[in-house]
Symmetry: C2
Subunit: 274 residues, 2 copies
């Protein structure tokens, strides 16, 4: 009988932290790591105290429960602004236009937030897509993400590298999208005849992946009035904040200076649409 | 011999995803959940294939390795801008002033980012602290966080609720801090004699936790020239985006309208320091 009670307490000691982890996954993993450590320590300690035969029975049954109480209290209030599929950056006041942005392949989406926050601050709503496996092409259509923001008068889609390819697919799938903003990217589909599209291609002069030659060679896949901007001395990895990328070119400018240009060119593109 | 080889492959199938999870913890948990699911599925499938006796030996030894290869390729490039202890929101150009911000107790720090981004966009560098267990008082001193940004000419500290109490302790610990910005909070320490401090207290008229009475009762703990701003109709949970808080007051304004005021009052406070 007592043994059964010990097993029940041990199961609760392991189960309650596990349930709290699953329910609070977003805020718990985004926050300070101490919380995850505490969940693990309480689970391990509770099980050990309940099952160790030399723990007196009254202690084996009460101490694990006492340990669980603060965990329940500490369960965080989640942010209502961060979802599983996208993060939204809002401007002050009503947005002049919106941009759905696809990160580059294998890049943490958070690496694009510092630059895109600066874009958003100029009056644009920016939706940064969290791609499955960080591969933009696996994400499917983004029409649902746009539909969540009916206050946006006109939409562009864009992306870095492979994210730009996904943006090209969005443009073909949804005729209501008016703008395309490519960062160090080029389309694989022919968008040259897509009615009503204004396209902007921003690329780095020293990019080792999307070279100026690649951009020139695929120019005929974009509308004839596409605006091309070259960022002097910039490489592929300057379009985000994720360090260096093996195989990239050698930059002849600073990351900060390049990003200043990329933000300004993007703001100019969205302003032209608005 | 073959059995040993099967066990080695099984161990690699479990161990490689685990190592990738630990090394890529930040970007993997922040991103789309598909990546975590894939790590788990590959680990389980690899172990099962290697150890199941009816798998032919050649398949048991090669298939798990084939499954591991894409995991290595997909390991994300981490954002260089997101740390374990804080998130930094930068303005365009050189910041006019800086604000270290402590979230309220038990609240996901991301719930404060939409409002603080709007503050940052007005020319201020904002450092949002990730508190251990989301309890600001456990975080200790924030002088190190400020020292990382020597370009900031003048610093304020602030916080919501318990975060404001932590900000008061920062002000006492570091005489170089010039400003204090309380959101629905009041100090527990006596700051009335703290030399050179400009203090701003912004609170909600209908707050059920930090009531206007609480603010009035603790007024003598703040410098005589402290500026008090009441946000009409606002409650405690309007100072972040984390939903409703049980025990809070009944609001008589909208969240959006209240937040407009809170952002404007905070920008005015930082502008007065700059």
């Amino acid at each position: 009988m007592l043994n059964i009670a010990r097993w029940v307490v041990a199961a609760a000691s392991a189960g309650v932290p596990l349930v709290l982890l699953v329910l609070g996954w977003g805020p718990l993993t985004a926050g300070h790591p101490a919380h995850l450590v505490l969940l693990g320590v309480v689970a391990a300690a509770g099980v050990a105290i309940a099952l160790w035969r030399r723990t007196p029975a009254w202690l084996a049954l009460t101490l694990p429960v006492v340990l669980l109480a603060p965990l329940l209290y500490l369960q965080p209030f989640a942010s209502t602004q961060d979802g599983d599929d996208a993060t939204v950056l809002r401007p002050d006041g009503t947005p002049k236009a919106g941009l759905v942005f696809h990160p580059g392949a294998r890049v943490d989406y958070r690496a694009y937030l510092p630059m895109l926050r600066r874009v958003a601050a100029q009056g644009f709503l920016v939706v940064v897509v969290k791609e499955p496996l960080n591969i933009a092409l696996l994400g499917g259509d983004t029409a649902d993400l746009r539909a969540e923001h009916p206050e946006v008068p006109v939409w562009a889609v864009g992306g870095h590298s492979l994210g730009g390819v996904a943006a090209g697919k969005d443009v073909l799938a949804d005729p209501s999208v008016r703008g395309l903003v490519l960062w160090a990217s080029y389309p694989v589909d022919d968008l040259s005849g897509r009615a009503g599209l204004r396209a902007f291609s921003i690329h780095g002069e020293r990019d080792g992946f999307t070279t100026p030659q690649d951009v020139a060679d695929t120019r005929n896949r974009l509308p004839a009035d596409t605006r091309f901007e070259v960022v002097p001395g910039a490489v592929h990895a300057f379009f985000g904040d994720y360090g260096d990328q093996p195989g990239d070119g050698e930059p002849t400018t600073s990351r900060a200076e390049a990003q200043e240009r990329i933000v300004a060119d993007t703001v100019a593109a969205l302003t032209a649409l608005a």
